[in-house]
């Protein structure tokens, strides 16, 4: 934190970062209602990281220190868990401010891991952060299903349908299992089978994770969500079931 005084003079700079965000959020996200009470900072696990806390972040935005708040890595350390809104007397939406601070980073300078995962998800219609294509997914599911039907005869007529039209539940599936730990998918299938649930995966949009939202890339996030929902609607499913 440089010690030279922050100078404020002349006409108020109009397009402050905080003003832009206030225009986007419903009733301005109450962003300038802060009474600096510290409730958010008192309950935020990210307080202290990068010598930053939610109150200080909002304060810097309010005082127009735009370049500082759009460059601090702290924005990647706020998970958006909303524990600050939960107790803020003024219901100030700091996580959204952080989201748009993330968005103000040039896309390629954003953390490699998140950028990579989001681009992977955009690579094919699976929207899987590990890039598994619908066919790979189908292959793994069918392969594991076959193996378990044999090994555990009680589940010989267990199903793990993909694109089953008219199914009641449309399930998404985190990419980690199909890609690295296929066996971990089985317990869920067994449960669904035991209950006799009419469910299906979607060949498209089955990826449960959403790194595009973490990347604060709106189009990508919209694309991933729209792909999944369209698929669910296309299959005529009634419930979009998150297994997270």
């Amino acid at each position: 934190m440089s010690e030279d005084a922050i100078k404020i003079e002349g006409k108020k700079k109009k397009s402050l970062f905080i003003d832009k965000v206030r225009e986007i959020l419903p009733d301005g996200g109450n962003l300038n209602m802060c009474i600096t009470c510290g409730a958010c900072a008192s309950g935020c696990p990210a307080t202290g990281l990068e010598n930053m806390d939610p109150r200080k972040f909002l304060r810097m935005a309010a005082l127009g220190l735009d370049e500082e708040i759009t460059s601090t890595p702290w924005v990647w350390m706020c998970t958006g868990c909303q524990r600050c809104i939960y107790v803020c007397p003024m219901k100030i939406n700091i996580p959204e401010l952080v989201y748009y601070a993330r968005q103000s980073w040039p896309r390629e300078e954003r953390p490699k891991g998140i950028l990579g995962s989001c681009d992977m998800a955009l690579r094919n219609d699976s929207c899987s952060a590990m890039g598994a294509s619908p066919d790979d997914f189908q292959f793994v599911v069918e392969d594991v299903l076959e193996e378990y039907r044999e090994a555990q005869p009680e589940f010989k007529d267990m199903e793990a349908p993909i694109d089953k039209a008219g199914a009641e539940f449309f399930l998404n599936q985190n990419s980690r299992e199909p890609v690295t730990e296929p066996d971990e998918m089985v317990p869920l299938w067994k449960i669904l089978h035991t209950v006799g649930v009419d469910w299906t995966y979607g060949s498209k949009g089955w990826g449960g994770e959403n790194y595009c939202m973490f990347l604060a890339d709106d189009e990508a996030w919209e694309h991933v969500t729209r792909t999944a929902l369209n698929k669910a609607d296309e299959l005529g499913c009634k419930i979009f079931l998150n297994t997270e």
């Binding site: 922050i6 404020i8 003079e9 009474i35 309950g43 304060r59 003024m90």
Partner: protein, 1017 residues
């Protein structure tokens, strides 16, 4: 003038006021009206009156328990004053308009006849589950144990829990149980109605992050008060609810249910929580252990009342109360332990500090209870968005419906002194709807002429009550009466059963007359509650009321020696013997009376002075309004608008015009007070008028001091040295008069607490925060692009002002805190000023080039002027120069000199609305005195025997109220009107020249004789 019996016949409806709510505000209104000659119906939905205050342990700022100051209030309010008190009663319907209302009242069945019940408690002891006196000891229940002497002093039966009412009927010795009590619905007509319904407490169980619901050691402030209170469930021992251990660390969390927009909170500030949290912390350290660590988590410390800032400083420096400026996120209880841990972010660094506590007190704010909201809506009263009664700045206690007034919490959240001020103000406004009061309530005429007993040998009547089994169950009253019978000079000695019922009183009265008795001894309950009743009995029997002695053989013998009846009887005999010996020495005392001059002198022609004058003049009192300037208006002259946008200038103009043309007000401007003598009802004040100082004397019966205070103009931050720097008042005029200049402004800085809360003006000036917010909003209305910075120490926008503070933030005003030891720095820079300060959150310096710098300079006392006035009226002042009232909490308008009252900023800095309320209150207090044609002086006063007095000045020095003085004849003189009857001078006088009436030395010696007579004889 027909003397009106004080019964409540219907035809006199327009002289009757209905007061809804028996809390402190309601009681004050009822008392003021009754003492001013009005009939009052006081309605309370609970079993007994007293409301919230009776559950508090100690109250700020006096920190004493006030039980003894409040219980006389409560019993006084039911004594002979024309107050009809209806407990367990609700208002169901109100029709009619000002001057002629018809109200339907519904009284829930108490199943006990109030006239018969003597609160002996037999039914309570036998059937505790269904007979109510103390609604429960669970400190979580907000209405737990109230206080030992409830009014009405009676029980009630909870029919739901009672399986056989007949058993209860049989138990009651007074036959007071009414099994088929259906409750009553009645209609009364009245001239005005006062809503004193008080406020409900916010229920924090919705705040899961503070864990109130499942962590017993997280308590609300009312529950903590009950834990502290000697009459509370833990009998005054501070114990942790979960395991009854002594706590070592206690935390308070402020603004629970206030200043918030979610989880059921209200957006306004509840005004009193900061003070009662500080008080609870101080009392915890003071009475329960210096070693207990007390921490208060707060957002802004709002101690804006009179001397409240000094109270805060004492809390910090003298008692070591730790204040942490942070609102904690959660109160977390580790599994398996009952330690509560709180983590908070210190103001100046990004770090999480976690500390552990034994008890966490949630300072819960106030809300309008549902039933009160419904009642107000049924009565057609307009409510504001928080469901409080809507009032205006210039009519602070009048609701939207003419003839219906409001006082206390239901008008807005406030502390007890403000509640009492509004209580009196509502009384004044209520009586403005009615013709002038007729004759004062019943006084001596109804009693037969007093028998002259001088010189007669004593003929004593001893009457022993058995008070059901209260006394009879432990002491053999017949043997006691028989023993008393053969004491010397006892003519009649009889046991009279239930002494305080109508029949027994009649029996005693007849015996006094038939047996020509000239002394009476009553063996009964505590004189604290019974003395007045029996004194009236003696008057009715034609005997001077002070020829009476009461032996307390119930509360102090039978009730406490039930385990040893034999000793109890012996002790009762001793007490009766002591009373008999003492009563021989009692002399008839006459209550001195003075003729009453009914004119009023109001000093000070500002908003407060004019409001008092108008209120009194409308009631037909002649008012002399003395103002030292040559125009009326006072400080309000340089205000244009209030925070709520009401036009001050217009209303002030109207008020000045009305005052100058009112036929009952004589306005004397350019006048200075020079001398003041006399006592209540007979004051004489000398004034000098105009440049030629022509002297004139005014005779009057009461005085209201509304001399206001001075706007402060400290030479700080280049004030009066740079044209860009001005005070908030100047800014108010600047914004109104030159909006186009405002349009050109780019950056504006405001600095709060300039010249207030500092060593030479230690208290808060209360009005500057709202002035800053008002001006900020005004500027932004005209020029939305202006950037405004407000540098503050604590934003004290209490009550509904908090909504305006939020609006200011919403519109982009940035509020930045500064520490008192690191104030902002201001330097001229051409026609602008550079203001440098440090933002504590970023810990970085900022420099704003401001077109205008607005300083919130507040008030400061003109020491020379008030010191001169204080000397003329012999009035004490607080250390920073304001007039000191008689009791900071319970008598905020009366001054220690009887007949003198204070209103407006002469009492302490306050808003226009609060000044007008206090002015109307002072008018009401004046009416309580001037309603009577004569003033009764209490007979219990000290009298000096001139011959014995050695003029040694001991009494002059000892008297706490410096009443005695050495007169022209060289001996000490004590003015009966001023003597408070404490008797300290009598005890200290080395020449035994002073005797306190009713407690003379020979009476006390006689008691000692009586006690040890058998031994020495």
């Amino acid at each position: 003038m027909k003397t009106v019996m004080n019964s409540h016949n219907e035809s006199q409806s327009n002289n009757k006021v209905l007061v809804i709510g028996g809390g402190l505000g309601g009681i004050r209104t009822a008392l003021d009206l009754a003492e001013a000659g009005r009939n009052v119906v006081l309605v309370e939905k609970d079993f007994s009156i007293g409301g919230l205050m009776t559950q508090l342990d100690r109250t700020f700022p006096t920190n004493n328990c006030d039980l003894c100051t409040i219980s006389p209030y409560l019993s006084e309010s039911v004594r002979q004053l024309p107050i009809e008190f209806l407990s367990m009663t609700r208002v169901t319907e109100v029709e009619g308009e000002a001057g002629d209302f018809t109200v339907t009242l519904n009284t829930a069945p108490r199943y006990i006849d109030l006239d018969k019940c003597t609160a002996c408690g037999d039914c309570y002891n036998k059937f505790p589950e269904c007979v109510r006196f103390t609604p429960g000891l669970d400190h979580r229940a907000p209405t737990c144990m109230r206080y030992p002497h409830a009014t009405p002093q009676a029980f009630s039966v909870d029919m739901a829990k009672c399986n056989d009412i007949q058993q209860v009927v049989d138990i009651c010795p007074a036959g007071a149980i009414v099994p088929d009590d259906k409750g009553t619905t009645q209609q009364i007509s009245c001239g005005a109605i006062v809503l004193a319904t008080g406020a409900g407490i916010f229920d924090p169980s919705g705040l899961d992050n503070f864990g109130y619901k499942n962590q017993p050691d997280v308590v609300t402030s009312l529950e903590y008060e009950r834990i502290l209170s000697a009459s509370g469930p833990t009998h005054g021992y501070l114990l942790r609810p979960s395991d009854n251990e002594k706590p070592k660390k206690i935390a308070w969390i402020q603004c629970i249910g206030s200043r918030g927009m979610q989880k059921g909170a209200s957006s306004y500030c509840s005004s009193a929580c900061c003070m009662f949290a500080l008080k609870e912390a101080i009392v915890t350290k003071e009475r329960f252990g210096e070693d207990i660590e007390t921490t208060i988590f707060f957002m802004d410390m709002r101690t804006f009342g009179k001397d409240y800032e000094c109270y805060l400083e004492r809390a910090k420096n003298e008692f070591g109360i730790r204040l942490v400026r942070c609102r904690p996120h959660s109160v977390i209880q580790r599994p398996g332990s009952n330690v509560l841990s709180i983590s908070f972010a210190p103001f100046d660094r990004s770090e999480l500090v976690t500390e552990e506590f034994d008890i966490v007190v949630l300072s819960t704010g106030f809300k309008v209870a549902e039933d009160v909201k419904k009642l107000a809506q049924d009565m057609g009263i307009e409510l504001n968005e928080h469901n409080f009664a809507k009032t205006s700045n210039f009519q602070p206690v009048s609701t939207s419906r003419p003839g219906i007034y409001v006082c206390g919490m239901f008008e807005s959240p406030k502390d007890i002194p403000e509640t009492l001020i509004q209580g009196s103000a509502a009384a004044c406004m209520a009586s403005s709807n009615m013709p002038a009061p007729e004759k004062a309530p019943a006084s001596e005429e109804d009693f037969p002429p007093e028998k002259d007993v001088t010189g007669q040998p004593p003929r004593i009547g001893v009457f022993i009550c058995d008070c059901g089994n209260n006394i009879g169950g432990v002491i053999d009253v017949e043997e006691l009466a028989e023993y008393a019978g053969n004491l010397s000079d006892v003519a009649v000695s009889k046991s009279v059963g239930q002494g305080c019922t109508q029949e027994s009183m009649k029996e005693i009265q007849d015996l006094i007359v038939s047996e020509d008795l000239n002394r009476v001894v009553i063996g009964g309950t505590s004189p604290r509650t019974e003395e007045l009743k029996f004194q009236d009995l003696l008057r009715r029997a034609g005997l001077n009321p002070y020829l009476l002695e009461i032996a307390n053989i119930r509360d102090q013998v039978a009730w406490v020696h039930g385990d040893n009846p034999e000793n109890a009887l012996k002790k009762a005999k001793s007490l009766i013997q002591m009373a008999v010996c003492a009563v021989k020495k009692n002399r008839p005392l006459i209550e001195q009376t003075l003729p009453m001059n009914k004119d009023v002198l109001v000093v000070g022609g500002g908003v407060s002075g004019m409001s008092s004058a108008l209120a009194l003049a409308d009631q037909g009192f002649k008012v002399f309004l003395v103002e030292k300037e040559d125009k009326l208006g006072g400080f309000a002259k340089n205000l244009r608008k209030t925070l709520e946008g009401e036009d001050v200038a217009g209303a002030l103009g109207e008020m000045i015009e009305k005052t100058q043309t009112h036929e009952n007000i004589e306005v004397i401007t350019g006048a200075n007070l020079v001398d003041h003598t006399g006592k209540t009802g007979m004051f004489r004040t000398g004034i000098q008028i105009g440049p030629e100082k022509s002297y004139r004397q005014i005779d009057h019966g009461a005085t209201i001091l509304a001399t206001g205070t001075q706007p402060n103009r400290p030479a700080e931050y280049l004030l009066d040295q740079h044209e860009a720097v001005m005070t908030q008042a100047d800014a108010g005029i600047f914004i109104e008069d030159s909006p186009e200049k405002v349009k050109a402004l780019e950056n504006i800085v405001m600095i709060q607490c300039v010249g207030s809360r500092c060593p030479d003006n230690p208290n808060c000036s209360r009005i500057c925060c709202q002035a800053a917010v008002k001006n900020a909003l005004h500027i932004l209305d005209i020029n939305p692009d202006a950037q405004i910075f407000v540098l503050y120490r604590d934003m004290r926008t209490y009550g509904f002002q908090e909504d305006y503070y939020r609006k200011a933030r919403e519109k982009g005003v940035i509020f930045i805190r500064y520490e008192v030891d690191a104030p902002p720095n201001v330097e001229a820079s051409g026609d602008k000023v550079n203001v440098t300060f440090v933002d504590p959150i970023l810990n970085r310096p900022l420099m704003v080039t401001a077109d205008k710098l607005l300083l919130s300079t507040g008030f400061k006392v003109d020491q020379k002027a008030t010191e001169r006035l204080a000397r003329i009226f012999k009035l004490p002042r607080t250390h920073d120069g304001y007039f000191l009232e008689e009791h900071v909490k319970l008598r905020p308008i009366d001054l220690p000199v009887p007949g003198c009252f204070v209103a407006g900023t002469a009492h302490s800095p306050r808003l226009i609305r609060e000044s007008i309320a206090q002015a109307q209150a002072a008018a009401s207090r004046v009416q309580t005195i001037l309603a009577k044609d004569v003033i009764h002086l209490s007979p219990v006063v000290a009298q000096v025997d001139g011959d014995k007095c050695a003029a040694c000045l001991v009494c002059v020095r000892a008297c706490p109220f410096n009443v005695p003085y050495i007169n022209a004849d060289g001996y000490s003189e004590i003015d009966p009107a001023k003597c408070h009857g404490c008797g300290i001078c009598a005890a200290e006088c080395p020449a035994k020249a002073i005797q306190l009436m009713k407690f003379e030395d020979d009476q006390i010696m006689a008691k000692l004789e009586g006690l040890f007579e058998r031994k020495v004889a």
